[in-house]
Subunit: 297 residues, 2 copies
Amino acid sequence: MDLKNYLTSQRQRVEEALAQTLPPKQQHPTQLHEAMHYSVFAGGKRLRPILMMAACEAVGGDIENVLPAACAMEMIHTYSLIHDDLPAMDDDDLRRGQPTNHKVFGEATAILAGDALLTEAFVVLSAPSDSVQINDRTRREVIQLLARAAGAAGMVGGQIVDMEAEGMEQPDLATVDYIHAHKTGALILASIRAGALLGGANTEQYEALSRFGKLAGLAFQIADDILDITGDQEQLGKDIGSDQERGKATYPAVLGLSESIRRATELHQQALKALEPLADAAEPLRQISHYIINRSS
Amino acid sequence: MDLKNYLTSQRQRVEEALAQTLPPKQQHPTQLHEAMHYSVFAGGKRLRPILMMAACEAVGGDIENVLPAACAMEMIHTYSLIHDDLPAMDDDDLRRGQPTNHKVFGEATAILAGDALLTEAFVVLSAPSDSVQINDRTRREVIQLLARAAGAAGMVGGQIVDMEAEGMEQPDLATVDYIHAHKTGALILASIRAGALLGGANTEQYEALSRFGKLAGLAFQIADDILDITGDQEQLGKDIGSDQERGKATYPAVLGLSESIRRATELHQQALKALEPLADAAEPLRQISHYIINRSS
């Protein structure tokens, strides 16, 4: 397979589905809908939806069945970026080279656009569906997966510990592990698990993918931390060294650069090993994770 | 029935269920969980959960089956209050006589506590359940009801139009209707509909309660607007005349006080008429709505 073509075509599928799923920009109240569209269509890589689709493929499922959940996941991810960028949080003026939501629409609208994206994700996940393959039980389980991953025991919990850690003298490894497993790892894992569930995974397949999701999610995050030090600005989409400047709790800050690289490589090897039972069907997942890890080298 | 005892005992049931449902305050990260508890247990009337329970009773359902959804509704309501009070929104320092969430925990934690309460509501709604009466289809429908009522086509949509209208010279009736039907009416209606669904309503019962919910929700809001002018401060829990001072789009501002009173009374009469097919089982709903309307006189 040609990974570049694969990523491009999957990204297009997600973006078409998102365009059909979000309330139209012209719909009253337009200010709210424009702000939602602005951040959803601000040029994301659609990594989480693509991982969800690849996990579905890995168990021989039909990608059509995961598109609504893939859109919901991207809406949750986008809401988290809008709220993270707010003046009271990271106070960022730019995101992927564009002005952040509150810079364009004002703080109140940005808060509400984030709130609406999070809520609309659950509208999408619970909408009546024509699919005969996805029953109400599976849909409830997917809602449970995504809500847990996004909530206090997941992403929001990770975000608050991340903020607290910014003030620490020297964050310890347990804190960095907690932040990464929750702030970013939880949604990555939930994407892969939701893809498996909606693809009709059996228990063995679900467990293999869960193991892959945990290991790869952590490897991706260490790679991201490394990229903040070694990458170039274009690759990164933000200023080089910005984590260091902010005193962010990162792996290189706690473990040093070479130990971080060693750890990312080892976790990635273990993640690939977890995919062995899925044989060739997991090839897209393998190549996506190679691609994410190797951005940092 | 003695309404005061009824309201007290229902409120206690909701509060016990909430205490069991929210992640414990002592749980890591404590800052987040304390902020969530602070606003959830800040002395609300639990109007929406009590309406949900009363709608369930009105169709002969078992209240045990609505308690999780009643908690979820109160969590959504509480998140909306936390975000509404933020400096970028209404910038309120007090809520029910107590410092608002961001005054106690800071703005970043208040935003995240709101985000977490909204998300945890969907964790609760989609959690595995022992109830044999509530199947996964009904639970999916309840999630759909609550998410739609809280999202861009409901509460968040109403909130943004409310903010926009504060700047208007003279808001028109259509704008005031939109704000009230969405910002507050949608969650009231969804509470009543969820109670009906979870109580096992047939189509006729569901439609009667939906009609009641729409009419009563609007009547409650007009009564609230009137109370802002005629009530005393203790009854209101906020400063008298604060809507007027802010140039809020209210019914008295558009229709005048006496026409607003006439309209609230008429809507309330129609709401009670909608309950006729439910006979005696709807007595709690009738008395609750009398109580809400008559606070304003």
